[in-house]
């Protein structure tokens, strides 16, 4: 690691990314799938009611996407701050 300021910045950038991802995680599953499920069921997505779709399909797709998004962004961040494994 170069110096302490860049280390601290790396960690801050990581925390920001983690919080951003967790907000999405919370929103699709607990928001769309649970809290607003009833209201969203008034909207349709083909044969699905939207709240039901989020609870049984949409959230899972989002989870998978989120993890890959995080992994790719973090791997870039590692290189940018020069803390990646050599």
């Amino acid at each position: 690691m170069g110096d302490n300021t860049s280390a601290a910045e790396y960690w801050k950038a990581n925390i920001r990314l983690v919080i951003g991802c967790l907000v999405v995680w919370l929103f699709v599953s607990y928001g769309c799938g649970i809290l607003f499920a009833d209201a969203l069921n008034g909207i349709r997505l083909g044969g699905y009611k939207l709240g039901f779709w989020f609870a049984q399909q949409g959230s899972i797709y989002t989870f998978v996407g989120l993890i890959f998004f995080y992994a790719i962004r973090m791997n870039k961040l590692d290189r940018k701050f020069n803390v990646d494994e050599k």
Binding site: M1, C21, S29, Y30, N41, G47, Y48, Q56, A71, V83
Partner: protein, 588 residues
């Protein structure tokens, strides 16, 4: 060829495959035994994690549960997938960087305390045993239903097989066998699902067919889920897609159960330990993504199967005369998974809400006027005449859809793969907890590599025997203790692991008090409900969901006690600093 011939072939071929893999990947070091030498690529590790995670319950029971629960079944779908996001973002990369063998290793080192190590160790063993007993039972049940051997013989065969490849190959053997087992189980799950989706909706992708229109018959052109809602209402059930129907779980309860399952997943030792086996931090992050991708293939198909099979079931047997019921109905009646009592003496199968009678069917051996098997159970006063076991939705699916015999055999091999892969992962956690965490770290720090390896193998043997014993003599409380496994994992490990990484200020006193408070609260709440018939006194949150509250208590206590006591010593803070950055410690 008959179903039985096909089943022997499928099971024989897959078992030979597993044993060959284990033989090839025999290990000689403790690092190989505990964490496969840390040399498993992210893709293979993701597959192994998926097989490790998806148990007999996911494979056999989940779709059936959802089929009867409708929207509320989402608690399992969300709860058992969302935890991987937490794992990938909050735990996996850092634990990989920490780079030891087990979860108690991290807790013990981070909180510089053997008391904390010991608490973590006891939780790890308890959670794993709870889980593994159910798997051995699952193996026995698949054997008895498909190979027509005694359940106990099935358990013994399963025990011998798991022992062989777990003791030989340790984590390395288990990992590569799990890759093979994943392949078997996902094919076995998807083939019938695709066939049924084609049959009902005309599309081969179950996830699309689920939201698509019905292809033929009186309802052709109408959306499957709309028809299903209508069928449910006609019979007096709540709409299939309706959230929080009357008499069902409340929103708060759904919220808490989902959270407890998610956080519990992220705190289960046999899942966490899978991220010690990849070569680097980058691999750990990616591997969590692959794991969830492979899990999602099954978890997005399961709710589709749930709706297809409910549609099929209601259409083929509800309000149909018993003597015109399809052949699968009578085949599974013989196994006690289906029973019919003609309450109104009209000869028709009336399927309505509520239980037809109390408990599982106990046949008297006599047959009624329509040829149905008579049950001795006390009838309930509901109009419902049908007893149907939830597991049937997956097990009988190929027959309901009239698929060829080899598909039925494939489902048997898939169920076995799911149960065996989970059992082996759990057995390794138990073995490493005892041989590494208890013996090496707490009792004899001078034990040689060879002694530890031997003890690890012996402990697998001991653990297999205990698990097998519970498989053959299942304690009545197996179903109840599943709530324990997740509740405890959520209320014990998760907060102290996350805080250990993200808050340097968290210290030994905080962690010990927090874990103890979380565990005790959760245990008392669950025991009161499950064993003493107490009420869900806290806002109606059920035993399955209370882990969420336990976790919050743990979090609160850990943080406050840490603030009130001395900060951790500098070398521990330094360690936390090191695990936050992927580059090797030597490069600093």
């Amino acid at each position: 060829m008959s179903i039985l011939d096909w089943t022997y072939i499928m099971v024989g071929v897959t078992f030979t495959l597993y044993i060959s893999i284990a033989w090839i990947s025999m290990v000689k070091t403790t690092k190989g035994f505990y964490v496969a030498g840390g040399g498993v690529g992210p893709l293979a590790n993701g597959m192994a994690t998926a097989a490790d995670w998806m148990s007999a319950a996911s494979f056999i029971s989940m779709a059936g549960l959802i089929s009867f629960m409708g929207y509320t079944g989402s608690i399992y779908l969300l709860g058992w997938t969302g935890g991987y996001v937490l794992l990938a973002l909050l735990l996996a990369p850092y634990l990989r960087k920490f780079g030891k063998f087990t979860v108690p290793d991290f807790v013990g080192d981070r909180y510089y305390s053997n008391t904390a190590r010991f608490i973590a160790l006891v939780c790890a063993i308890f959670v794993s045993f709870t889980y593994v007993a159910g798997q051995m039972r699952g193996v026995g049940i698949v054997f008895s239903r498909f190979l027509e051997v005694d359940v106990n013989t099935g358990v013994l065969i399963g025990m011998a097989l798991v022992f062989l490849y777990a003791a030989l190959g340790g984590m390395k053997g288990i990992t590569y066998t799990q890759v093979a087992q994943y392949t078997v189980l996902i094919i076995a799950y998807l083939v019938p699902a695709v066939a049924i989706s084609l049959k009902i909706t005309g599309t081969p992708v179950p996830q699309l067919g689920f939201g698509g229109a019905i292809a033929e018959g009186a309802d052709s052109g109408k959306y499957l889920l709309d028809i299903l809602n209508q069928l449910n209402i006609d019979l007096g059930f709540a709409e299939y897609t309706k959230a929080y129907p009357e008499g069902g779980k409340s929103m708060l309860d759904v919220f808490c159960i989902t959270m407890a399952l998610m956080v519990g997943t992220a705190g289960l030792p046999h899942v966490i330990v899978r991220f010690y086996t990849v070569p680097n931090v980058r691999g750990a992050r990616l591997s969590a993504g692959y794991a969830l991708l492979f899990i999602a293939f099954l978890y997005t198909t399961a709710p589709a199967i749930a709706s297809f099979s409910r549609y099929n079931m209601i259409n083929t047997i509800s309000n149909v005369p018993y003597n015109q019921a399809p052949s699968w109905f009578k085949n599974w009646e013989k196994t006690g998974l289906i029973a019919w009592v003609d309450k109104n003496h009209n000869g028709f199968i009336n399927y309505r809400p509520g239980n037809a009678f109390s408990g599982k069917p106990e046949f008297t051996g006599e047959t009624g006027s329509y040829g149905q098997l008579i049950v001795a159970n006390t009838l309930s006063d509901t109009e419902n005449e049908l007893y149907i076991d939830r597991d049937i939705m997956v097990l009988a699916n190929p027959e309901i859809a009239q698929l060829p015999n080899w598909v039925i055999a494939l489902v048997a091999a898939g169920g076995l793969a799911a149960a065996l892969s989970t059992a082996s992962g759990l057995l390794l956690v138990i073995s490493s907890s005892i041989s590494h965490d208890l013996y090496y770290r707490l009792i004899n720090r001078n034990a040689s590599e060879k002694q530890r390896l031997l003890l690890g193998r012996i402990m697998i043997g001991v653990a297999v025997c205990i698990a097998g014993y519970f498989g053959i003599n299942p304690p009545g409380f197996v179903a109840q203790v599943v709530a324990f496994a997740f509740g405890l994992a959520a209320s014990s490990f998760f907060p102290v692991l996350v805080l250990g990484i993200f808050s340097k200020r968290t210290n030994r006193e905080g962690a010990i008090c927090g874990m103890t408070a979380g565990i005790l609260f959760t245990i008392f709440y669950i025991v009161n409900i499950k064993f003493f018939g107490g009420t869900a006194w806290l806002l109606g949150i059920s035993a399955e969901g209370i882990g969420t509250v336990g976790m919050l208590i743990n979090l609160f206590v850990t943080v406050s006690v840490s603030r009130l006591t001395a900060p951790p010593p500098p070398e521990v803070q330094e360690m936390v600093e090191i695990i936050r950055y992927p580059r090797g410690a030597g490069a600093r």
